[in-house]
Amino acid sequence: MTDAPVAAPLKTPLHGRHVALGAKMVSFGGWEMPLQYSGITEEHLAVRRAAGLFDVSHMGEIEVAGADALAAVQRISTNDAARLEVGQAQYSALATPEGTFVDDLLVYRLGDEHFLLVVNAATIAKDFAWIRDGIQGVGDAVAVNTSSRYALIAVQGPRALEIVQSLTEVDLASIGYYRFATGEVANVRSTISRTGYTGEDGFEIFVAPQVAERLWGALLSVGAPAGLRPAGLGARDTLRLEAAMRLSGQDIDETTSVLEAGLGWIVGWEKPEFVGRAALVRQRAAGVTRQLVGFEMVERGIARHGYPVYVGEDRVGVVTSGTRTPFLEKAIGLTYLPRAASAPGAECAIEIRGRRVRARVVPLPFYKRPRG
């Protein structure tokens, strides 16, 4: 017996930039990615106060096209893609027949009969197979894994707009939240999307891999005086957790339903058919027995992913995400609690290295950006 060969980690087109910037590199979902450059706290605060620059090229892109592309997307995505205009995006889920998560994703309507699905890095192959199989028999629709055709760079933070604007003639202020436009940024042909995973205003910019370094370099040089800092996966995780954005594979997976995760708003209830619909309709009628909640520690200690959670003497689950967040300066986390114990103010306990430490349910999100 020999061990199965371990695949070499994949590298994004910006890998050389990260190394040159002195990033601490880690393996994530099969990719070698920057965990941090200057430090998670500094990068996190830069995004809350000015702006951060993220390489998220590891994310997957799957395109669905054809005369029946809308019907195909409607079948495999929980949200109602018919509501999307060309130039608009929506958050959604790929659900199992049980109404649990294969993955979460963004659905972009590139054209009347052309959709771009952006999925998580670690699940690209699984998602693509799921989508390809799921749309069989819909009619004229084909799914193509186009992940290698895109690099994806995110600029996030209160100064993101002015920084990106200085490199483009596209009027960014006219791009609404969860809308996108095409145009040149730093003379690079781009799809500019007003989306993100940090709880801040900002943009995610899709470009061809061979020009990614040029765009990255241009953004850093014009942005640095405004406080733009490169930010790694560490800050991306603490930022998204403060904003209570779920992490696929951790907060949501094939054991948790879309409703339990508090994401009923990404279900197109009026759609006559989609994978998971029957189970979700049943669950909505019966009510969920447990609910994803946010908590903060009452006593000293930091809850981490996987730590046991207790209500009274009952072990009710585990922490799905937990950290001490740099901006709020609190130890916070997400977990699933029984419905009866899930109201804000309810107490639970987190077992931290053998000791039960008190925590309290708080409303989500932990952080909401001030709106001007």
């Binding site: 998670i40 706290t41 500094e42 560490g234 000293r300 001490r324 740099p326 130890a331």
Partner: protein, 123 residues
């Protein structure tokens, strides 16, 4: 880089012995690996630890790391400034001690390495 006035462990603690007492902290390499320290779990004064026993833990935003006692001893003091300012470990790892212990056997230094050997270990 690594002060020669003390000894080190392969678990990345340092111990500075003075007579029968010693102070314990973590190395610059350890703080770099951890990243931004946000929490230090300290033992109680009076607790006794064997050499190599876990006496506490240190957490960064991203990771948790156990702290091991480089020599056997009883805690006589803990650095309570770390409760409110754990980040000082990042700023000055070789200046900021975590616990002070009364050594059980001050001459029992097996397993400790000197600064040059430690620098070699983490190079």
């Amino acid at each position: 880089m690594y002060p020669s006035d003390r000894q080190y462990t392969t678990e990345h603690e340092w111990i500075s012995v003075s007579g029968t007492t010693a102070r314990v902290g973590i190395t610059d390499y350890a703080q770099q690996q951890l990243g931004d320290v946000v929490f230090v779990e300290l033992p109680d004064v009076g607790q006794t630890f064997d050499q190599g026993a876990q006496f506490g833990s240190i957490e960064s935003v991203k990771a948790v790391s156990d702290l091991y006692c480089p020599m056997a001893g009883t805690v006589v003091e803990v650095n309570t400034t770390l409760v409110d300012r754990p980040e000082t470990v990042n700023a000055d790892p070789h200046g900021v001690w975590i616990i002070a212990i009364e050594l059980t056997s001050p001459d029992q230094t097996a397993g400790l390495i000197d600064a040059a050997a430690y620098a070699e270990l983490v190079s």
